[in-house]
Amino acid sequence: MVDAEEEHVRRVMERVAARGAASADQLTPDTVRRTRRAADPSRSNTATSRRQWMVAGLTVAAAVALLALLLPNLLADNPTVVGHAKAPNSMKMQLVDSSTSPFASVGGGPQTGNLLCATVTVCYADESSGSTMTGSGIERTDDGGATWRPTAALPDHAALAWPLSCPSAEVCLGTVSPLDGLSDLPLGSLHIVRTETGGASWVIHAVALPAGIALPTISQLSCPTAELCIAQVTGAVAGAAPAAPGANAPAAGAFMVTTDGGTTWHDEGAPSDLASTIFFTFHCDADGSCIGLAPTGSAQDPSTETVLAVRTTGVGAPWTTASYPMPFGLGILIMACGDSRHCIMAFPTDNGLKMDVAATTDGGLHWLIATEPSSWPTIAISLSCADGLNCFLSAADSTSTGGYADPLIEATHDGGSSWTPITLPDVDGGPLALVFPLSCPVPAGCIGVGATPQEFNPPRSAQPPKPGSLPVNGERVIVSNLKGSQTDS
């Protein structure tokens, strides 16, 4: 028997669910198929979510106890050659003896989807806390991930948002969301924030608004030096109406460049349709050459799928495109570039039951594809390149409950031709579920954020928080194979 009180609750729940369901048209199958994991910490919208959670005053967080136990190598001690060549545009993949140090747990860390390591000891990541923000919203470690502290608050009540780009340990540039209604910055304006003190203080600089773009936002930011930064600004064509009710307005974009560390910016003048591309990764070198990669075409007709490279050879040089046919198949595609010519991507094959890796050495004009060894997991999780030759791939298998298991880190030191497995530590007496994200500042290795299997399948006996209790900051297991590295870059 449902009494009136219970019926009221049901009506409230139905109403709320209906309001949520009504917003479902903002998602499409294509957005799911074109989802990419943060291949490198160059772009995300996590900061927006965090701010919305602050408004809501809600958080779900639970501490993850950390006991790092370095167990014997989970992977083959004597790896064999299992890859095979695919002529003509294929490369031979083989597992080789590892010369890269194994990963170890170095401590607890932020609950983050964004991690950027500028050196072997200094990294920046999204702040852990969901309901309070003690600084800019970005935390920093100075000891390779063992301890983390908030960076200083920004002026004007602004929150620092990714993309973040750090040409050195102390110099970083990031963005402020123009849609963030909590800051004192006017809606529709465009700003970057800069620190020269490793986050101890920040200065906000306005970015000139590109002509003809409404609701502009900085989608990509790459600062190869403390002075040179290239930003991709995207938005909608100003004044343009959607083609149909409910459709998005036509996209517009521009590449903006600063050569004085962010004080002044100018429009590079790239065609708007190039600059509005949703890049999966974006990388610029110190000489001003840049590359952005994105998949194009439709998964419904894989013969139309290509990987699009949008490139420039330097500041002031024209932006051009190169397109290479590449059916990506079912699943998730991740991409990363170590420099403006060398990039790697990992993508699923065999209906999502396997994973392939492809590499380019000429800025996307040609790609060489390799079939993964059968021992590899099926899902590419994170990919980070220290330079054109040295990249690290995190992968895992999917579990029957939608979680992840059997994580693996593979390293290449030759641009993707051969791969070496690197040992991951057990935590709390068991293996990790996955490592995401991974950030690799030097060829020797990376710092990553590990998650335990419990993250994806919470115990049924979990007790709800007591009324009025403060949320507990989430923690992750920070893993690194750089501990002991003496040379910071």
């Binding site: 949520g20 917003s23 799911v32 809600l58 059916p327 079912l330 999917s398």
Partner: protein, 176 residues
């Protein structure tokens, strides 16, 4: 080209199948997630992530007896896991969905739901919010139907108390 022609037929079929699955289930997933979070953007992210997990291994998930139930389970796990903040990003910029202000009713509901034990919370959301029959809820949560009915009743009473829904309650949206 790349020796992949043999895969194209399967891929196309799977894409079409997933599209149908998406259209049928996406609204209900977002609705379910919205009840958990009270924040529209978060709800969209959760639904998006759940569907991404389904797509990620669609070749296997499509063969399950009830792929929708599997996806709802993923969403439930995501909703109760802190991991959700560290997940995939949408390829398109997020529209400024919450710029008009928070949905007070949804936020209060999400907050109140956190007072329920996890499985009880899931039962209430599955049945009362998105209309999954008690028998199916029992199957999804792997408990007897009687247990679900008991959870529903107890859960609603707690929620009613927390939300201040007494006999004089008139209902109606409190949005904005």
């Amino acid at each position: 080209m790349l020796g992949r022609g043999r895969q194209l037929h399967d891929v196309t079929d799977h894409v079409r199948e997933f599209d149908d699955f998406f259209r049928t289930n996406c609204p209900r997933l977002v609705g379910q997630a919205y009840v958990y979070t009270g924040v529209l953007a978060e709800a969209q992210d959760l639904a998006h992530e759940s569907l991404t997990r389904a797509w990620e291994r669609w070749g296997v998930v499509r063969q399950y007896d009830d792929p929708a139930a599997w996806t709802r389970k993923v969403l439930r796990n995501l909703a109760t896991s802190e991991w959700r903040r560290a997940e995939v990003r949408r390829t398109k910029s997020r529209p400024p969905v919450d710029i008009e202000g928070p949905d007070v009713e949804a936020l209060a509901l999400a907050q109140a739901l956190k007072l329920l034990p996890t499985t009880q919370r899931h039962a209430v959301v599955l049945h009362d919010a998105i209309g999954i029959p008690v028998a199916d809820v029992a199957r999804e949560l792997d408990v007897p139907e009687g247990t679900v009915r008991s959870w529903l009743s107890r859960g609603r009473k707690i929620l009613a108390r927390e939300l201040g829904l007494d006999d004089d309650y008139e209902g109606g949206a409190q949005h904005g």
